[in-house]
């Protein structure tokens, strides 16, 4: 049986780029978590009914790391939790990245989309990592990724690393790539799909939609695929790029 898990926040910090990081203590969650999956956190402020889906950044030894951006009332409440507070959450949920594809892997992350790619990078052998951010101030986790594989950074305004997009840096080296794993804003994922198709490379991309139940029952968070609308929370969030239809 699955459970609604209770997780104690054992560490909390605000990153220089503005996001909030929690380390959550729960043996079951850490043991079951796979790269690309998410947790669905109850917002217990007496005001917001719906849970907030937050991607899993890393998990090991009873501890699960999540990093999220403050976007609205729900994440604002979440950011206000302190060390020692208990969160109620469902998870790990969803279908994560397929680790058994093999070959030379490229990891492409954009903005806050880099967080769910960290645990993936740890599990892959020598991935090449391409990270894109709006500007220098938004660059996050570069050193942690660099410890796992050759890492290149791009910024939209050129204030740090290369000027441009992560996918453009990746395309220059695409002849060394067998599989792309990507997470980031929709325009980036659309570009990843286009690049992958142009060069005949397989790509797995993590999709995002406003969510309801988190377990496939309410049909709110669907995305368009070649086999019809599919649930991001249950059949995703990770899909093969070739299946996804972008508007």
């Amino acid at each position: 049986m699955r459970e609604d898990l209770k997780c104690v926040i054992s560490e909390r910090r605000t990153l220089p780029s503005g996001q909030v990081e929690f380390i959550l203590d729960n043996p079951r969650l850490a043991k079951e978590a796979e790269p690309g999956q998410f947790v669905h956190i109850a917002v217990e402020n007496g005001k917001n009914l719906l849970r907030r889906p937050i991607s899993i950044c890393d998990a090991a030894d009873g501890k699960t790391r999540i990093i999220f951006e403050i976007k609205g009332e729900g994440t604002k409440w979440l950011a206000g939790r302190s060390v020692g507070d208990t969160l109620t959450l469902m998870g790990p949920l969803g279908r994560g990245f397929d680790l058994d594809i093999g070959g030379s892997a490229f990891i492409i992350g954009g903005g806050i989309g880099v967080f769910p790619l960290y645990m993936l990078a740890k599990k892959l052998k020598n991935p090449k990592i391409f990270l894109g951010f709006r500007n220098k101030d938004m660059v996050v986790m570069e050193d942690e990724f660099a410890a796992l594989g050759k890492t290149l950074v791009a910024t939209d305004d050129g204030s740090y690393g290369e000027k441009g997009f992560a996918i453009d840096l990746a395309e220059k080296e695409i002849s060394d790539c067998d599989i792309i794993y990507a997470c980031g804003p929709k325009p980036m994922l659309k570009a990843v799909k286009a690049v992958a198709e142009r060069h005949g490379v397989r790509a797995q991309i993590s999709m995002e939609e406003r969510m309801g139940c988190g377990i496939g029952a309410c049909l709110v968070c669907v995305c368009k695929t070649t086999t019809g609308n599919r649930q991001v929370c249950l059949q995703g969030p990770v899909f093969d790029a070739k299946e996804i239809i972008f508007d």
């Binding site: 699955r2 719906l50 406003r210 969510m211 049909l219 709110v220 669907v222």
Partner: protein
């Protein structure tokens, strides 16, 4: 203590069911608890052919509730009959209610024909979906149509027929009476209230479909009032729903005149919500020395 309720000749082990559209086909939540603990489930609204539904975003959070504009995405009645229904009947002991929708009177009749004699315990006829262009709520807001569809479904159905009413009308008792006149065995209410949410930063509606159905605890007083009014207006039994979060909420609906209740939006807040509502009702009965849940039905002192 008795929690069994006989509704239209069918015995429910307790009065707590889950509302259509909030519980998939039950199997999703069965990973969190044995859904056989519930009186029954009403499955995702079914149509003759599979439907893809509306564009996203399909959900918007509001104070005290949420809006949805799913638009009846479903795999079609044949997939329900060949996959979900046999699985539910083989593995689960809760009652299975098929929620059916269509875009013409003939559609509804054909749906009822297709589900006759297949082991569905009850038909819930959705004439109140606010998120589809043709059919849906357009039927449920016109008394003549309500009666005509009820008659057409009754002519084909092998199981009791419950008409699911829309709250988006001036007088819901008019629709309840029309369902009764058409031969309905029961009514269920309320479906969602039409609503809208605007993002003040972008000045755009949050929902891609602009408008959607409002549900959650914010709608509960409206729903309780409508159940109360309908229970005075018709003699067929009622399934009450709209914002139930706790056992005491469910008791309000029973007191207002509902024989069964459905838990909907609360399932998204807490995957165990429906079973907690069930336990909350028995807690209430214990606290108030009630031996039979049937003694609560329509027992409001008003």
């Amino acid at each position: 203590m008795n929690t069994k309720v006989n509704f239209c000749g069918i015995e429910f082990k307790n009065p707590v069911l889950t509302a259509s559209g909030t519980f998939g086909f039950g199997l999703e939540y069965d990973e969190y608890y044995d859904i056989s603990e519930l009186g029954g489930i009403s499955v995702k609204g079914l149509t003759l052919k599979p439907r893809e539904g509306n564009p996203t975003p399909r959900v918007a959070e509001t104070y005290g509730g949420m809006l949805n504009s799913v638009g009846l995405q479903n795999p079609g009645v044949e997939v329900f009959k060949s996959y979900y229904l046999p699985k539910l009947k083989a593995e689960k002991t809760c009652r299975v209610i098929a929620n059916i929708a269509g875009s013409s009177v003939d559609d509804y009749a054909e749906m009822a024909r297709s589900l006759a004699g297949v082991g569905v315990d009850l038909l819930e006829v959705n004439i109140s979906c606010p998120n589809v262009k043709s059919g849906g709520m357009a039927f449920g807001t016109d008394a003549k149509n309500v009666e005509a569809i009820t008659r057409a479904v009754k002519a084909e159905a092998s199981q009791p027929v419950v008409m699911k009413l829309s709250p988006n009308v001036t007088d819901i008792t008019e629709m309840a009476r029309a369902a009764e006149a058409g031969g309905a065995d029961g009514i269920s209410l309320i479906n969602t209230l039409m609503g809208m949410k605007i993002d003040v930063n972008t000045r755009r509606p949050v929902l891609a479909n602009i408008k959607g159905g409002y549900s959650g605890p914010g709608v509960m007083p409206v729903a309780v009032r409508m159940v109360y009014e309908c229970s005075k207006a018709v003699s067929i039994p009622i399934i009450g729903m709209g914002g139930i979060m706790t056992g005491d909420d469910a008791v309000e609906f029973l007191l207002a005149g509902a024989s069964l209740v459905m838990v909907g939006t609360a399932n998204f807040v807490d995957p165990l919500a429906a079973v907690k509502v069930k336990n909350g009702i028995t807690d209430y009965m214990r606290r108030h020395g009630i031996d039979d849940v049937n003694d609560l039905i329509g027992a409001v002192k008003a």
